[in-house]
Amino acid sequence: MRGFLYVLAAFAVMGLAFWAYQENYKTQAAIKDVRQLHADIGAAHERLNILRAEWAYLNRPDRLADLADLNFDRLGLLPLMSVAFGRVDQIIYPLPPILPITDPIALSSEAFNDWEDPL
């Protein structure tokens, strides 16, 4: 009985050692993965920052004003003035759509059916 317990303990130690070995390698792999992800996120951030800076640079008020002047013929853009404001009742609302016909009236035209194509 005692010998059996010793053998069992020895196997348990070996099993645990194997498990620990595997966990160690898994952890190291995960850390490597995280490092790679951090590097990727950092690069993406940098790219995003450059794009945002470029967007801000391309949308700077001076440039937009110049573009509006250049394309005045096509777009007719003017600085926002007080005359651009209107009242709600100055807007023509779209006409309400025609309601679906729920009780159609049957119409028949005999003449149409008998009518023949002259050609």
Partner: protein, 594 residues
């Protein structure tokens, strides 16, 4: 173990025969046995001490060894711990009130040289001089062939220049990553943003530090990694700022002024929506401080905050409001305006003679110095000083810029009665346009003090009461009348009921001793819309002169007022203010039947 008896029979018998005491033998044996026991116990104790000593020795060696390795190895961040964001370590952005970028960073490269690693220094020097025109090939060659082992060439280079340097192909030319502060809008809001430069520099990185404006004021906040890249949100509105700068620059050149400033402030929160000082500069390429001449002529000088001037008649409404608040006058009280008003050797005159007396309202509308001075005499020096202090006109503005403390108002050394009289119409006390904007906002928002701020405020805090709501309302109505039938008739903007007061102050001679005859500061302080005051706009022109007529006109009514009106016309719709149009009564329909 064989146990020896204490009284061995053989020896006892022998001893008895000899007539000796057999107990001595027993005692001797007992002693020997005790000695043996003591020896054994000591040996065991010694052994245990040895083991314990060994254990301690091993523990100390282990700890000492670990400490040694920690001390001698390169520190490494624990990678597995995922606390915080380790990536965003750069200086935070600055954005306007709507989140549009005012300042951001751009990754770029610096260029440095290791002359010892160069194979063909002459070729490298020639190549560099061709890429960077400001470098001199001979100087570079001298540096490359001299004793130096390390040399900075450029702090930041563009990607094209970097490629060109690559193409030289010298192993001694190296690049280090750099972060560059970028102001994508160029000179817009330059004075507020200030600028940035490099602090401590290394090959791999360099600190970016703020040198002026909010960049310097909030340097610690912008560099704090605990914010995780949260931007600094200002109260400015980029669109409004751009429009105001454009109109003001146009007005400045039309009016032949040498400088101009404008401040647009939210009347309830004290947020500065736009603040312009012209001439301006590009913060991406900040000019150096002038070493000679007048500092206030430098484009770096922020006229709106640092420029303290006598602003003239715009102060009159402050005096009148205090008179109303104290109950000394009402808008219809008749004030004696017979001129000139003589006080000692001083004579106070009006621009034109307005007759023997005017109502308080007309004193403001016609801008009578004599009438205002008479009201100030009733108020007295102490009360006037206390009122000016309550409006923040005696101290530098608390706005969040490093330059703010330099905009300290100039006060008379002795606040005498004549000072009281001159200050009542804006002479003898110098303050900045931002001071004036703050005072107007505090006076006209219902009478509670506001603090000027450059940070976005979401909930307005009610400040200390300066004047009653009724007086505040009366003051707005009077300012409106100045525009409707007074000195600022050009300020009429359809739909936005502008109210305001003009101020034309002669410039004091720099050397002291009197005023220039033909140099003025023209200011227009306005509030709009008058029926529900929302914003205060101050426009100040330095040495304007409007030359379209037969003789140059310098008064604010002809110079600052039209510029301010144009700014309001452009800016009010951008602020989301609906024009207030007086619609005629709709034609009434009478129901009739027959």
């Amino acid at each position: 173990m064989i146990r020896t008896p204490l009284r061995p029979l053989a020896r006892i018998l022998k001893a008895r025969e000899k007539g000796e005491n057999p107990d001595a033998i027993a005692a001797e044996n007992l002693r020997l046995r005790h000695e043996a026991m003591a020896d054994k116990a000591r040996q065991r104790a010694e052994g245990r001490l040895l083991v314990l000593g060994l254990a301690f020795f091993c523990a100390f060696i282990a700890i000492g060894g670990r400490m040694g390795t920690l001390a001698s190895s390169v520190p490494e961040e624990p990678r597995a711990a995922a606390v915080g964001n380790p990536i965003i370590g750069q200086r935070a952005d600055i954005v306007d009130r709507n989140g549009r970028i005012l300042a951001t960073n751009l990754a770029t490269y610096s260029l440095y040289a290791h002359p010892r690693d160069m194979i063909d220094p002459a070729n490298a020097a020639r190549g560099l001089a061709a890429i960077f025109p400001e470098l001199d090939a001979k100087e570079l060659l001298k540096d490359f062939t001299g004793e130096r082992r390390f040399l900075w060439i450029r702090r930041q280079i563009s990607p094209e220049q970097m490629q060109a340097v690559h193409d030289i192909g010298s192993p001694g030319l190296l690049f280090g990553p750099r972060e560059m502060r970028l102001y994508p809008n160029g000179p817009i809001a330059a004075h507020i943003l200030g600028g940035a430069s490099y602090g401590r520099e290394g090959v791999d990185s360099a600190e970016v530090i703020g040198v002026a404006g909010v960049e310097r004021q909030f340097d610690a906040f912008l560099r704090d990694p605990a914010n995780e890249g949260a931007p600094l949100q200002l109260s400015l509105d980029l669109t409004v700022q751009a429009a105001a700068e454009q109109v003001l620059a146009g007005g400045m050149s039309l009016m032949n002024a040498k400088g101009a400033a404008s401040v647009l402030m939210d009347i309830h929160t004290g947020e500065i929506i736009s603040m312009v000082s012209l001439p301006d500069f590009d913060p991406n390429n900040r000019p150096r401080l002038p070493t000679s001449g007048d500092q206030s002529d430098s484009p770096l000088f922020n006229r709106a905050v640092q420029g303290v001037y006598e602003l003239g008649s715009v102060f009159k409404i402050l005096t009148i409001s205090q008179g109303l608040e104290l109950g000394l006058i009402t808008p219809q009280t008749m004030i004696d305006t017979k001129g000139p008003l003589t006080w000692g050797r001083f004579r106070i005159r009006d621009f034109r003679n307005y007759g023997p007396e005017l109502t308080t309202e007309d004193v403001i509308v016609h801008s009578s110095n004599i009438g205002t001075a008479r009201i100030a005499m009733q108020i007295g020096a102490d009360r006037q000083k206390a009122f000016m202090g309550a409006l923040g006109l005696l101290e530098p503005t608390p706005v969040e810029m490093v330059e703010a403390p330099t905009g300290k108002p100039l006060l008379p050394a002795n606040w005498s009665e004549i000072s009281t009289m001159t200050i009542s119409y804006g002479h003898g006390l110098s303050s900045s346009p931002l001071h004036l904007a703050t005072a107007y906002a505090s006076l006209l928002n219902g009478g509670t003090k506001v603090m000027p701020t450059l940070l976005r405020v979401d909930t307005a805090k009610q400040g200390q009461r300066v004047v009653s709501e009724k007086v505040s309302r009366t003051a707005v109505d009077m300012l409106r009348k100045v525009v409707v039938r007074g000195t600022a008739s050009l300020a009429e903007v359809p739909g936005y009921a502008v109210g305001g007061k003009t101020g034309t102050a002669d410039k004091p001679r720099a050397a002291g001793g009197g005023y220039y005859k033909d140099k003025v500061i023209a200011t227009f302080a306005s509030v709009f819309p008058a029926h529900d005051p929302q914003y205060v706009l101050i426009v100040s022109l330095d040495e304007p002169s409007e030359n379209s007529g037969s003789e140059p006109r310098r008064t604010a009514g002809w110079t600052a007022v039209p510029v301010a009106a144009e700014i309001i016309r452009r800016v009010a719709p951008l602020l989301g203010l609906r024009p207030h149009v007086d619609t005629p009564q709709p034609v009434s329909v009478t129901l009739t039947a027959n």
